[in-house]
């Protein structure tokens, strides 16, 4: 019998008022490379199918309630994907926003978290390697 595995820790992305994935939008607008996106997505995938402790040194705590995936590549500025665990269920992660310096965007992250708590449709399961339509640079 073949058992089809599903993510045990699904990672969702915050969706902004225009219905766009806010994480992808930030990555596009800040010219984050395909390589950095691929690296971060590989970490996300391992966490999704295992648990947040699976990849050492990649998840950093930035405040009492928020953490971030840290992506580092040679010759590139680091990228932080700020997230919150367990918004609706115990084992899930929601990416709230992205930044170069996580503490500077804590307020935005918390605001996005409140929005998601009010409306669970404001998040989406989607790889961050995709690009928004009409934005193929970066």
């Amino acid at each position: 019998m073949d058992v089809i595995p599903f993510p045990v820790w699904p990672v969702y992305c915050y969706v902004d008022g225009d219905g766009e994935n806010a994480i992808i939008r930030w990555l596009d607008e800040n010219g984050v490379s395909s390589q950095m996106r691929g690296t971060l997505q590989s970490f996300i995938e391992i966490v999704q199918y295992n648990d947040p402790s699976a990849v050492p040194g990649v998840i950093v705590r930035i405040s009492k309630d928020l953490e971030a995936f840290r992506g580092v590549r040679k010759g590139e500025q680091p990228v932080f994907l700020i997230f919150c665990r367990s918004v609706y269920t115990d084992c899930e992660i929601t990416l709230l926003n992205a930044s170069r310096a996580p503490r500077e965007s804590l307020a935005d992250a918390r605001s996005n978290l409140e929005t998601i708590r009010r409306d669970r449709r404001r998040r989406r399961y989607e790889p961050i390697t995709r690009r928004l339509a009409g934005n193929l640079q970066g």
Binding site: M1, D2, V3, I4, P5, F6, P7, S33, S34, Q35, M36, R37, G38, T39, L40, Q41, S42, F43, E45, I46, Y49, N50, D51, A54, V55, P56, G57, V58, R70, G71, V72, R73, K74, P127, T129, R130
Partner: protein, 301 residues
């Protein structure tokens, strides 16, 4: 098709992303393996073993670190008692690697590798069952005791297996019923002779169902198997099982029941005979042993 396969099909359309993803996975895998294999050892101790500083080990244990050298990895392999393997792979192999990421982090040391340790050979649960069925285990009673000692952990594994089977396989309801019937005695009984008999009955009657179980839920079963794997562990557990001074008489009358002289299992060399069950040797019990069994059964019930 699995969700992961669908996602990766989309992600891997871009070549740069594809290679960066694979590199990210490799770096994360190396960091996680080093941390897992280090276990209780401190970073300072490991650093001393491979001739570097603690900060160097700390860097190696970071999933973002990508500047490790093969020479350093060789030294680490030696320090951990495992071998280093470097392969070129197809991208498709990433799928099982991601899904089973944490299960594959800590290979056994050379000393614990059953391939080179005769005490550990022929020690998996399935082999043990076959050995029991074939009557090749000299002291069935001692084996029964050791199996009973593990019944708790086995119960948890079996429960989860049966539960997940139930969730996904309504079409396999009949198999599930047979499985539960066969495994039931193992879950609830601590009577070692009954456990032995249950194992025998199970292996002789339902080998196909057992194999399917192993195939679809290999990890949890494997965990149970490895828990039951070594004669050394058995002896310890059996010794734990019979701790009290009131058992001295029981031990004296049946020294092998302590597990202290439990011999290593031998590989089965002839096919399973389904009629062997009928020739099961009768187990010798003292009144005190029987009373102890009864109280244990009540406790577990």
């Amino acid at each position: 098709m699995s969700r992961l396969r669908e996602d990766l099909r989309e992600i891997f359309k871009d070549e740069d992303t594809r290679y960066a993803y694979a590199e990210g996975h490799l770096n994360a895998s190396i960091a996680a393996q080093i941390k897992s294999l280090r276990g209780e050892m401190s970073q300072e101790d490991l650093a001393a073993k491979i001739g570097t500083k603690q900060s160097g080990v700390s860097r190696l244990e970071n999933g973002n670190y990508s500047s490790w050298k093969v020479e350093t990895l060789r030294k680490l392999a030696r320090a951990f008692g495992v071998r280093l393997r470097i392969n070129f792979e197809e991208f498709g192999t990433l799928i099982p690697e991601i899904e089973d990421f944490k299960k594959n982090l800590a290979p056994r040391k050379f000393e614990d590798d059953p391939a080179f340790n005769t005490d550990l050979r022929v020690s998996t649960f399935a082999d043990r069952n076959v050995a029991l069925v074939l009557g090749q285990v000299p002291d069935l009673e001692a084996v029964g005791r050791s199996v009973a000692a593990y019944s708790d952990s086995f119960k948890a594994a079996v429960d989860s297996v049966v539960q997940s089977w139930g969730a996904v396989a309504s079409a396999f309801a009949e198999q599930q019923r047979v499985l539960q019937q066969a495994l039931g005695p193992l879950c609830t009984l601590c009577d070692y002779s009954a456990v032995s008999a249950a194992i025998k009955a199970y292996t002789t009657r339902e080998p196909i169902a057992y194999n399917q179980l192993i195939e679809s839920h290999g990890s949890s079963i494997e965990q149970t198997r490895s828990g039951m794997s070594t004669g050394v562990v058995e002896r310890e557990r059996v010794a734990e099982l019979i701790p009290g001074p009131e058992e001295a008489e029981c031990k004296a009358q049946n020294p092998s029941a302590t597990g202290a002289v439990l011999p290593p299992f031998r590989a089965p060399v002839i096919p399973i005979d389904v009629n062997v069950r009928k020739t099961e040797p009768k187990l010798r019990k003292t009144r005190r042993c029987a009373a102890r069994e009864r109280s244990r059964r009540e406790r577990y019930a």
